[in-house]
């Protein structure tokens, strides 16, 4: 064989863009089958109607959408879900930020140990962790017993919104910490020292230098936690005790208990729209930061 043929073969090869397209094809196919197709199905289902008896009427109408969007219960449900998720996101951010800053500044073996501690909860199912919170928050739980020992009347910490907020915040913290850490790349201690020598107090330094430099990480963490919070099901179901009504639990009830699939599908589509809105907000925030 003639070795001079080699360059010719290379010239016949694909352009880098074409190679990238081919490499992306498998995941695009998986996404189309595993994500897009079910979403299209859901959209189709939301256009069906449901009889009072629960029987499914195969049709194409916006009746379910109209009912859902005019019903004060579902509207309140959507508003509540957004509000609670935003509150949990904010709480997660406040609780995670100092930990992430400390982790960012630690080094060596200590940093590895801390990172493992942060990631470890992610290796446990949210169900198990939620049951852990039940053991802590229930009426005979750790907190109640501790308060009782001091002669204090324990507040209700479970089967209400308080329990859901506490549980979800802890469950989402690892995600927030990891997102914050990934966004702390620009934070060099020299910037803080420069601010200090220029006359900025530690508080001013934090507001004017540290916070702006960590904004991209905060935006990413908030997006991630908001999306996870609004779509979380296990924790609100178990810690809410059926008394906290959020979108995810309602979708479950409609689909499994009431068997009203069109309403469940419509609510699912609304969650998807909220995801889109959160993503758009994140993109805009990121552009403003940069």
């Amino acid at each position: 064989m003639n070795t001079l043929a080699l360059p010719a073969r290379e010239a016949r090869g694909m352009s880098p863009a074409a190679v990238a397209m081919w490499l992306l094809l498998p995941i695009a196919l998986v996404n189309a089958v595993g994500f897009l197709w079910p979403v299209v199905n859901l959209l189709r289902m939301s256009l069906n109607e449901s009889e009072a008896t629960g029987a499914l009427i195969d049709t194409v109408s916006l009746a379910t959408w109209r009912n859902v969007l005019t019903d004060s219960f579902t509207l309140e449900l959507i508003g509540n879900s957004i509000g609670v998720s935003l509150f949990i996101t904010l709480l997660t951010l406040v609780a995670s930020y100092p930990i992430a800053i400390y982790l960012h500044r630690s080094s060596g073996l200590w940093r590895t140990v801390l990172l493992v501690l942060v990631i470890a909860p992610l290796l446990t199912s949210a169900v198990v962790r939620t049951y852990g919170w039940i053991a802590i928050l229930s009426n005979q739980g750790l907190v109640a017993n501790l308060l009782a020992a001091f002669g204090l009347a324990p507040p209700r910490l479970m089967f209400n919104l308080t329990g859901v907020v506490i549980g979800l915040t802890e469950i989402l913290m690892p995600y927030m910490i990891l997102a914050l850490l990934s966004g702390f790349g620009r934070l060099d201690p020299r910037y803080e020292e420069a601010a200090l020598t220029l006359g900025a107090t530690p508080l001013k330094t934090f507001w004017r230098v540290v916070l702006p430099l960590t904004a991209p990480g905060m935006a990413l963490g908030c997006l991630l936690c908001f999306v996870l919070a609004i779509s979380s099901f296990v924790t609100p179901k178990l810690l809410g005790g059926g008394r906290v009504f959020l979108l995810a639990t309602e979708i479950y009830d409609q689909a499994i208990v009431t068997l009203n699939w069109p309403v469940a599908a419509t609510l699912s589509m609304i969650v998807l729209v909220l995801f889109g809105a959160a993503l758009a907000l994140y993109t805009r925030a990121l552009r403003r930061i940069a």
Partner: protein
Amino acid sequence: MMSIRPDEIQGLKQAEGFLSLRGLTRRYGNFNAVDDLNLDVAKGELVAFLGPSGCGKTTSLRMIAGLAPSTSGHIVVDGHDITGVPPYRRDMGLVFQSYALFPHMDVARNIAFGLEMRKVGKAEAQERVREAIALVRLSGKEQHRPAQLSGGQQQRVALARALVVRPSILLLDEPLSNLDAKLREEMRNEIRDIQKRLGITAIFVTHDQMEALTICDKVAVMNHGRLEQLGTPLDIYEHPSTAFVAGFVGRINRLAGTASGGLAEVAGVQVAAPGFDGRVEVMVRPHRVSLSAYAPPAGDDRYALAGTVARATFAGDILEYEVEAGGVLMKSEAATRGGEGVLAPGTPVILSWHRRDTFVYAAS
């Protein structure tokens, strides 16, 4: 400002300089990063902290800036003990080796930051930022982000940001080490010009002896956390007080010898070594050693040594010979002149140098 008059502190010598360090020490466990540093810097002086990495020069600077705690000792500025004062109340301008410009602010906002923290009025702040930008010749770059600037330009912004607040002392931490050689020389002279024009007291930390010798009024040579010598560049170079200073500042021949009765014997030559006894190190700079075919005339104040050329290195402007003489290798170098050849290895030569260029130290 929390301040104590230095004379109120027991056992503290009266501060003599505008900036005085008294027994400044930084200890990490058993290791003294900075060990009992005593130093006076007069107003308007540019003083270099020169030494190899790990000698404590940067730690000293950080203690002066208030960014690193001192284990013991005092820092006195203009009669006020500022040892315990936090960095944001110290009124120092610090230029970092990495510049540390705020990446989320443009040039003008970076420079204005210190004025904002000092609550300077908007109109005055604007005027002062404009002046500072003009001072470092960056007019027109006000809206640029640090990432859009070259290393030299970032360096200028860092300098303007430190100077715009009119600090009592300007601290420069290896400000030129991230620049290429040509720019380094240009910036070095520019820093000196600005420092002189403003009459500002400044500390310049560097490991580069050229920077220290060329632009500074005084050089403080440090090693292992201790001050080896403080003096003018001429002092440091011509009268190094320790073997370390002689070896660190400029190139030098180091010869081991033994001294007794005021004379040291090195490589077969008797060198005056008054006050020394036992093992000594005799040093002479290569460019003060001349090389010739003949011995110097008798009675001349020169030491002479016969040897043979071991290696010749031609570097264009300088010709360096390594000469084997009396069992040691000695370097001699001289500026090249036209019409001169290079001696071949093995050529017999006579090395000679002036008595006053000979340094003798007790061997460590």
